[in-house]
Symmetry: C2
Subunit: 462 residues, 2 copies
C-alpha cells in the first residue's frame, strides 16, 4: 500500500466502527480526503440491543450492518477488515493483520482517529472470564445465548436434584444497564417463554439473581429511578442483592460477600455462625454472566507508549478538550476509549461511556481534523446530554430525559414504550427496524422469542 503515501489527498485512518467511528467517517463525506475505516469485524453492531441477541429475542444480523455496505455511496471511504497490532505516532503508520493470517500489513495516515471501544474488565481476576463471560461482541452474545438455553436443556436431562438446581440458577453480576436488561429478560424467559415446553423441570422455578456491589441498581440514574427499577425487577421475579461483592467465581458458582453485613460486623467478632454466614455465602450456579466492569481497548496502552499520553484507571486515554492527544495533534481518541471531564453544576464529572457521547465525539473529532487541515483552530468537545434510559423487561423501563424545561423522569409501561421506539428509531437500516418491530410485536403478544437457536458445533463445545 506504498502508493497511498505518495497520494496528495490527506489520508485519515479510523480504527473501529462503533458509534464513534461510524459518525466520524460520515463527516468526511464529499470532502477532499481519503478515509480508511478499519474494524476487527465486518459489521457495525448496534450494541444497545446486544442483550436481545444473547437472550434469543433477535437474530444476530438484525442488529448488525455490514460496514462496507453502509459506506457504499461514500466513495472516499475504503473499508478494511483488520486487527491493529501497532501504531507509530511519529512514523504515522499502523500495522494490522487480517483474520486467520499472520501477514502484517502497514498503512500510513495523515490523521488517525482511534475509536476501538471497550472490553470486559475482571478487575485483575482474569481467570473468572471462562466461568462468567461478558457481553460486548456478537460472538459474546451467541455464546451467552448458548449457555442460557443449554442450561435448561441440561436440566431437563439431569437426574440429580442439586445439579439440576445449579443448572436452573442464573447469576448476573453488576446492575448497570446491561446487567439489569439481562436479568430482567432472563426472568421473563424463565417465567413466560419456556414454561409448558419441558416435561421434567419447571422453567418458572429457575432463579435469576442480580448481584450489585453498590447500594443501588442503575447508579447513573437518579435515586428515585433506581428504586423504581428495583421494584420492577422484583416484580419480574429477579432476586436483586445490593452491597454484594463477588470474591470468587469458578465452575461450581460464586462466592459473595455481603458488604452491608460485613460493615455491621466491622470491629467486632462475629457472635454467631449465622452472622459469619450473613457476611459471606456461596451461590451454586452453572450460568454466571459478567456485566460489572469495562476497560478501554488495549490500543490505549499502545498510544501511551507511542505518544506518552496518560491513561486513567480504566485504561482510557486522557484526551485534550478537542479530543486530540497532548503530544500528537494528528491523533484523536473518541468514545469509550477516551477519558474527558466536563463541568456539571460546578462539579467535574467524566463524559459517560454511552453511545450518544461516542457519536458526538466522532463528529467533533472529524470536524477538528478538517479544521486542522484548513489551518483553523480546533474546537473543544461539548457533550450534549439528552438523558438516560434503561429497560428492565416486559413493560418495565426507566427514563430520565434532559429537556430544555428541566428533567423529565418516568418509569413503567410508558417508559418501556419510549425505550422501545427510541431504540428502533436509532437502529440502522429500514429493514432492521422493521424486523425488530415485527419480532417484538410477536414476542410481546405471544411471549415467544424468535431466535432460540444454537448451532451444532457450539453445542458440542458444551
Amino acid at each position: 500500500m506504498a502508493e497511498q503515501t505518495q497520494h496528495p489527498t490527506p489520508h485519515i485512518v479510523i480504527i473501529g466502527c462503533g458509534f464513534g467511528g461510524l459518525e466520524a467517517a460520515k463527516v468526511f463525506k464529499g470532502k477532499a480526503v481519503r478515509v480508511t475505516l478499519m474494524d476487527r469485524t465486518n459489521h457495525h453492531l448496534f450494541q444497545p440491543l446486544l442483550y436481545q441477541v444473547a437472550t434469543a429475542g433477535l437474530a444476530a444480523p438484525t442488529i448488525s450492518a455490514p460496514i462496507r455496505n453502509l459506506f457504499r455511496q461514500q466513495l472516499n471511504v475504503t473499508t478494511l477488515l483488520g486487527d491493529v497490532r501497532s501504531m507509530d505516532a511519529n512514523a504515522k503508520q499502523i500495522s494490522f493483520v487480517q483474520p486467520g493470517s499472520d501477514v502484517q500489513h502497514t498503512l500510513s495516515f495523515d490523521h488517525l482517529i482511534v475509536a476501538a471501544g471497550a472490553t470486559h474488565s475482571y478487575f485483575g481476576n482474569d481467570a473468572w472470564e471462562q466461568h462468567a463471560p461478558g457481553l460486548k461482541t456478537l460472538q459474546d452474545a451467541m455464546a451467552l445465548r448458548r449457555k442460557i438455553l443449554m442450561a435448561f436443556e441440561a436440566a431437563e436431562a439431569e437426574e440429580d436434584a442439586a445439579r439440576r438446581e445449579a443448572l436452573l440458577t442464573f447469576v448476573v453480576i453488576g446492575a448497570g444497564p446491561t446487567g439489569v436488561e439481562m436479568a430482567g429478560t432472563m426472568a421473563e424467559i424463565a417465567r413466560h417463554t419456556l414454561p409448558g415446553e419441558f416435561r421434567r423441570i419447571d422453567p418458572a422455578s429457575a432463579k435469576v439473581i442480580l448481584l450489585e456491589g453498590g447500594s443501588r441498581v442503575l447508579q447513573a440514574m437518579p435515586e428515585n429511578l433506581s428504586e423504581k427499577a428495583l421494584k420492577q425487577l422484583a416484580a419480574l421475579g429477579v432476586d436483586v442483592r445490593l452491597n454484594a461483592k463477588v470474591t470468587q467465581i469458578d465452575a461450581q458458582g460464586i462466592e459473595v460477600q455481603n458488604l452491608a453485613a460485613k460493615q455491621a460486623l466491622e470491629g467486632k467478632t462475629a457472635a454467631s455462625w449465622e452472622e459469619t454466614c450473613a457476611s459471606s455465602y456461596q451461590i451454586h450456579s452453572k450460568t454466571v454472566i459478567w456485566a460489572a466492569g469495562v476497560a478501554a481497548s488495549p490500543l490505549g496502552k499502545q498510544l501511551a507508549q507511542s505518544t506518552g499520553c496518560e491513561l486513567d484507571r480504566a485504561g482510557r486515554v486522557k484526551v485534550l478538550p478537542d479530543l486530540s492527544l497532548p503530544n500528537a495533534p494528528h491523533i484523536s481518541v473518541i468514545g469509550d476509549m477516551a477519558s474527558l471531564m466536563r463541568e456539571v453544576a460546578g462539579q467535574s464529572v467524566p463524559v459517560p461511556g454511552v453511545s450518544p457521547a461516542a457519536k458526538q465525539m466522532g463528529r467533533c473529532a472529524a470536524a477538528n481534523v478538517l479544521r486542522r487541515m484548513q489551518g483553523q483552530s480546533t474546537q473543544a468537545f461539548r457533550y450534549a446530554d439528552y438523558g438516560n434510559l434503561a429497560t428492565i423487561g416486559r413493560n418495565a423501563a426507566v427514563v430520565d430525559l434532559a429537556t430544555p424545561l428541566g428533567a423529565l423522569r418516568f418509569s413503567g409501561k410508558l417508559a418501556w414504550l419510549f425505550w422501545l421506539f427510541a431504540h428502533i428509531y436509532f437502529l440502522i437500516g429500514f429493514r432492521n427496524r422493521f424486523v425488530v418491530l415485527a419480532d417484538w410485536t410477536t414476542a410481546y403478544l405471544s411471549f415467544s422469542r424468535s431466535a432460540r437457536v444454537v448451532a451444532e458445533a457450539d453445542l458440542n463445545k458444551g
Copy 2:
C-alpha cells in the same frame, strides 16, 4: 431414567428431528404413548433454505424452530438434547451424552424410530473436508458464510495479484440441487450485491466455477430441464464444467480431470502437451465448497452391528417395505438413513433422499408402530412423488411436477416464483414465513442480502 421402563405406557424414542422425525412424532398426538424426541441440536432445521444462510440471505434463526417449542402442545412428547452413542436392539436401550458433558445417560424404548439423516461423504478422501467444507448443518452454513465473505475482505487487502485471484475464485463441487443453488447465489452476490462496496477490487470479476463429474447438472431432473438449468447458470455468470472429476483438494485449490478429454485420449498417447493439459488442470481457489456426496448417519453402522441389518453403499439401512428392520420389528429407519426401492414404470429405483419422502416415511413408520401396538399388521410404505424443483438464482429455477394429468415442466421466472412460494409455504411457523418473505422482497428489489454478518471469534479462527 429407570422409572420409565416400569411405566405401563409404551415408550417410543425418535432419534433425529429432521423432516422425518418431526412428522413421526406428530402422528402420536393424542395417542396413549410416551414419545421421547432426541436431537443433537435444539432446533428443527428447514434444510432446503440452508444455502440461503450460507450465502448471507437469511439469518440462522429464520430457518430454524426450537424443537420443544414445536411440541409445546403435544404433552406426550418429551424433547431431549442428546448425541446418541449406542443402540442396543435386544436390551431396547440407547445411550446418549449431552453437549459438553461426558456423562452417559441411558433411555429404554419399546419402539425406536431412527431418523438421523445424512452427512457429507468425501468418497474416502476425508482430508479434503478441511479445504472443501459441505453444507448440512447450521454450523456448516455459518462457516461457509464466513469463508465466502472473508475471501472478499481478504482480497480487498491483498497486494499480490495471483493471491487476489485465488481469493476471488469460488469453486462448487457437485451440481446437484445444493451445488446449483450455491453457485447461482454466489454468482449473484459477486455480480449484484457486492459491486460498489469495494475500492481496490471489483467483486464482479470474481469467478464462480461449478464442477460436475457427470454429463449434466441436476441429474434427478429430466434432461431438458438440466439443459435449461445449465443455460440459466451460464446467464448468471457461473462457469459450469461437466465431466470434471476432482482428483485433489488442498489449501491452494483443486486438481481436476476432464473426463471427456480423458476419454478422447483413451488408448492413445497424448500427442501434445495441450492434450495432456486438457485432461487434467489446476484451479487456484481459496474457497471450495463440497456439494458432491452424502452418506447416511454413522448410526446406520451401529444398527447393522446390533441387528445384523444390511447397509447400502452410501451407508443407508436396507429396510423392509414397512420401514422396520428385518430382525428388529420394534426398530424403524426413515428418511435419508433408509434404503428402499420402489417400482417406477417397471423399473426398480430407490426412494429419493428428499424431504417429502422423509415426511411420508415418518408418517408411515409411526402409523405402523401404532398398528403393531394394537396387534394389527403393518402397511408397506408407498412413496407419493409430487415431482422435483430446484432454484438456480434470481428469476431462475426449474420445476418438474408430477400431476394426475402427467408431468408439468417449466423453468425461468415462473418456476422461480413457484419455488419461492412453495418453500415459504412449507417453512414452519408464521413468523418465519413472514420474515423470509420480507427479506426476499427486499433482496429482490435492492439486490442486497440481509445477513452479511460474521461474528468476531469466527473471524479470528480465519
